[in-house]
Amino acid sequence: MTKNKEYQKIPGRGYRSDGVGLVVRRSARLWLASDHLLMIFSTMFNEEFKRFYLRDIQAITVRKTNNAFIWSGSWLAVAILFALLSLGVEDAIGLWVLRGLGGLFLLCAVIAIASGQSCIAEIKTAVHLEELSSLKRVRHAKAALAILQPLIEQAQGEILSEEPVVETSASSPVANQNSPAATTASPPPFPINPDTPS
């Protein structure tokens, strides 16, 4: 296998279901090139790409969700159910089957818990807002942002803070309802030298 030098792997792996739902699931991974991020959605025989040039990335948002908690709870409930069922079985083979299934679901629950807090990450450019399907866990999102933040800032340069700020919202109709356009003269437009989210 040749080692790929052009792209560097960004932590995190996820899935995106389209069209037929659970039947067609595309695995999603994020790769970093010198000037862009490459999101690869791959099925077994096909790869689709989306490029986000570092100079165009306006914001990355990470929102914590309860998905991991719900999944781990569900796996745990099923594991307990099998454990309870096994109490009423005397047949040795049946007992081992139920214990095996219970153990399998318990393992799933442990993996879901160990993977940590789940999240939804989105990337915003001037023309689109896209979910980063590979960043499904907060720890992956933090690790990815720690890699990306300096590179994006390096690609985009310093923020000029002397000029007045005109707030606009091209991407969200709700934004217009909630916050009408306003002109302020308050440099800088947002906190500079940010830290990685903690």
């Binding site: 040749t2 025989f45 790409f49 306006q58 990470v62 709700v174 934004a175 947002f190």
Partner: protein, 189 residues
């Protein structure tokens, strides 16, 4: 300087600027815990294209717009281009014709948005029919055909090796040889 607003990914409400680059904070509307990391591009002004310069006597003109002054040559074909015809892509300056032909021929990697992984198709076609034995009569030649036909086609964008093609060819050849041996054995017995 123009500041585009960032919205909460759950409730789509506009997030106050104080919450940008401040670690995990609560959305003021839905109370979701979120982190908003913004970058200078959020406040970057759109750069207006430079005004077209009209050609004067003795100056080089654009190949596509003879009345306009040439700004630079196409890096692929060398034709002179005005600012309107110049398309910058991955550090190269290309004319629309080269851009179009490059996309059709798949030479411009940065314009590709999908690839078929023929190496995986070949390998699957070689391996999967083996499990059902009889289906390998068809599967093996097909795997061999795909491997040879698409040997030079671009594989994964991540730059994998030809190992899958090689394995598919070896398996295909072995299966065909096995079937030939079986046929010879039963016809000569």
């Amino acid at each position: 300087m123009q500041l585009t607003l960032v919205t909460c990914s759950k409730c789509k409400a506009v997030l106050p600027r104080e919450q940008y680059n401040a670690g995990f904070v609560s959305c003021p509307t839905c109370a979701s815990s979120l982190s908003v990391m913004v970058f200078p591009a959020l406040v970057r002004e759109a750069v207006a294209p430079a005004a077209e310069q009209v050609m004067v006597e003795g100056e080089a003109s654009c190949f596509y717009h003879p009345q306009k002054k040439a700004a630079l040559p196409c890096d692929s074909c060398g034709r002179f281009l005005c600012a309107l015809c110049d398309v910058e892509l991955g550090g190269q300056h290309l004319c629309p014709a080269c851009l179009d032909s490059g996309k059709k021929k798949g030479k411009l990697k940065s314009l590709e948005n999908q690839r078929v992984l023929y190496d995986r198709i070949a390998l699957t076609t070689a391996v999967l029919p083996m499990l059902f034995v009889w289906t390998s009569i068809i599967g093996a030649p097909v795997a061999l055909f795909i491997s040879i036909r698409y040997w030079n086609s671009p594989g994964s964008i991540l730059g994998r090796s030809k190992a899958r093609f090689v394995i598919a060819i070896i398996l295909g050849v072995l299966q065909i040889a096995a079937w030939i041996a079986v046929i010879i054995y039963f016809t000569t017995r």
